[in-house]
């Protein structure tokens, strides 16, 4: 029983390990577990730390390999698919009325008052019609009997239902941009940089990503609404926060020319041996468009990541 639990812990941790190294990593931890005869659970929990180390020191993040998000087109297709799925969940047949107007528990006991269909019947100078139920057809404000409500009622419910999340989106955007330390980096233009319209492409890509993730999160939260309203509210807040942050983090790791994810991270320097020297991580575009230098520690002269455009001849040197 406990043995199974320990193996399950290790296998759960293995999900964090990049697929190429996972089998060997699992074999090592299983073999080591075989020798552990006390405090095996604590031993197994340590595997998460090891798995995280493996994950962080892998050339490309694991999740992106799963979904093929290195390519910008695939990334957008994935996001579009995710958005489509969320919309389907929110408005489709499985939604259980997620986008339907909220129903009152006493709806059958309620009466609605509506405007008359024929405005010619209004006669302000004429005698007041009798308020008796028999004359309600001629009444300028006919009373609909209880239980007959619902059709065409609450026509602006979408405004209230979607207005709040959209306001929350805007609020989060403002809040996020003011409090997050995540900047998109510096991309100084040199003679190797592409033309201005091409340089704008990365901003278009970022805008499309944000435009796709917002409805995905919104509809996902709306789909959760009928099931667990508090969860939907928190899910909306944290979902939007996570989505914005992901969009920025993803953007930071892409080549500004071809928009593919950068690869081959290489550590330069050693924090314990550098006083005023530069140390950090260098990434390269696999198509030879440039290098990205990410400082290990922000300094006054190198406070954020910096891109360096390369000459087109570099593309011949890279696969």
């Amino acid at each position: 029983m406990l043995r199974g639990l320990h193996l399950a812990i290790i296998e759960a941790a293995a999900l964090l390990v990049p697929a190429p190294q996972r089998a060997e990593w699992l074999a090592e931890w299983r073999a080591e577990l075989w020798y552990v005869n006390r405090r095996a659970t604590a031993f197994c929990l340590g595997s998460f730390s090891d798995a995280l180390w493996m994950n962080r020191n892998t050339p490309a993040p694991i999740a992106r390999r799963w979904f093929g998000l290195e390519s910008p087109v695939r990334c957008l297709m994935f996001l579009a698919g995710l958005t489509g799925l969320s919309v389907l969940l929110a408005i489709g047949p499985l939604s259980h009325g997620a986008l339907a107007p909220p129903r009152s528990a006493v709806a059958q006991d309620m009466a609605a008052v509506s405007a008359p269909e024929d405005s010619d019947r209004r006669n302000p100078t004429g005698p007041e019609p009798s308020p008796s139920p028999q004359n309600h057809a001629a009444n300028p404000l006919p009373i609909v009997a209880p239980g007959q409500t619902g059709q065409g009622w609450a026509p602006n419910w979408r405004d209230g239902y979607l207005g709040l999340p959209l306001a929350l989106c805007l609020l989060l955007l403002v809040m996020f941009s003011s409090v997050t330390p995540l900047s998109l980096g510096e991309y100084p233009v040199n003679r190797c940089a592409p033309a201005a319209p091409l340089r704008l492409l990365r901003w278009v890509f970022l805008a499309v990503k944000v435009a796709l993730v917002i409805p995905a999160v919104l509809c996902g939260a709306l789909a959760l609404g009928p099931i667990a309203p508090p969860l939907a509210a928190w899910g909306l807040f944290f979902g939007l926060l996570f989505a914005f942050r992901w969009a920025l983090m993803d953007q930071r790791e892409r080549c500004p020319v071809c928009l593919r994810l950068l690869s081959n991270p290489t550590r330069i320097g050693d924090a314990s041996q550098c006083f005023l020297g530069w140390y950090g991580t260098e990434l390269v575009c696999s198509h030879g468009h440039g290098f990205l230098y990410v400082p290990g520690t922000s300094t006054s002269w190198y406070d954020t990541q910096r891109w360096q455009y390369l000459d087109p001849t570099w593309s011949n040197l890279l696969p």
């Binding site: 080591e32 604590a42 031993f43 197994c44 340590g46 595997s47 050693d270 041996q273």
Partner: protein, 108 residues
């Protein structure tokens, strides 16, 4: 490995783990037991040391493991660069080479 060895300054933890490997505790769990460090520290440290070229890993052959009726172990050996780094660490931490007893034969 290039001929030029650049001295790497190790943290206390990394130096202790390297010393344990030098003393003959050559697989992860034995390093854990000897040093008293938790698994969440030892295994990532081993990976870092291997990435920096200070140690090298190899799997025990299946035949040997089968003979012992146990799963094959992954052994870690200290490299020449690792030995040079450890020697430098021992100068910095003089008590380091007195830390561990000589391991039993099965760990050697």
């Amino acid at each position: 490995m290039s001929g030029v060895l650049i001295e790497t300054k190790l943290s206390h933890t990394a130096a202790i783990i390297l010393q344990a490997l030098q003393a003959g505790y050559v697989y992860g769990f034995s390093v854990m037991e000897t040093t008293g460090l938790p698994s969440g520290t030892v295994y990532p440290a081993l990976r870092r040391l291997e990435r920096d070229g200070l140690i090298r890993s190899s799997w025990e052959s299946q035949a040997v493991a089968d003979a012992g009726q146990r799963p094959p172990r992954k052994y870690y050996r200290i490299t020449r660069a690792g030995q040079a780094t450890l020697a430098a660490s021992q100068k910095r931490y003089p008590l380091l080479n007195r830390l561990f007893p000589v391991p039993a034969q099965e760990n050697a």
